[in-house]
Symmetry: C2
Subunit: 113 residues, 2 copies
């Protein structure tokens, strides 16, 4: 199992809508995330009183060797592009992220299981 932490900006005026669409995720998206081996996925909002930040953390339960292929399959899942067309304009991607990444990966400096 591998843990991930990620961050991205969120436009202040989009926060309510972002919250709303995440109350009940589209079933196709939820199924694809689970199928990829992602578990315990949380997104927190940091209210800076301007455009805020979203912090995400999740666990990947699957073989290291399958990670890239599973993420590619997740990206190609039914309705995923439609979902991203909804969420991407709400978000402000941050500098320093890896090629092809939308969220910025964070370094885990501490873990206690």
């Amino acid at each position: 199992m591998k843990r991930f932490g990620q961050v991205i900006g969120i436009r202040k005026e989009c926060l309510d809508e972002y919250r709303r669409i995440h109350v009940k995720l589209w079933p196709e998206i939820e199924a694809a995330i689970r199928e990829a081996g992602i578990r315990n996925y949380s997104i927190f909002h940091f209210d800076t009183h301007q455009d805020g930040l979203l912090f995400a953390s999740f666990e990947y339960h699957g073989p290291d060797t399958e990670f890239d292929a599973r993420m590619a399959r997740l990206a190609a899942a039914p309705r995923m592009r439609e979902w991203w067309n909804l969420t991407e304009p709400m978000q402000i991607p941050l500098p320093g992220r890896n090629q092809g990444q939308w969220w910025l990966d964070l370094e885990e400096v501490f873990h206690l299981g």
Copy 2:
């Protein structure tokens, strides 16, 4: 079980030392955290190339009614004040946090188990 997300600033010049002391937590601190019912505790670093941010997430496994008392016991645990004397000067607490809080609590806008 209740999940928490929290954020605090970290002084750029203190990051290496913060990382170092978290590689192997003092046994008294680790024991006190576990005793409080805290599990799956991660701290991630968001490098802004100035003073950065630390994003923490953890789970509280225990009765709601015991939460405040357990956190008070955790705060009073052996060597906890000594630990905080080390970590607090490295950190930059953020506005908007609740009375008596050092880290700022975040709103969870999404969770998939």
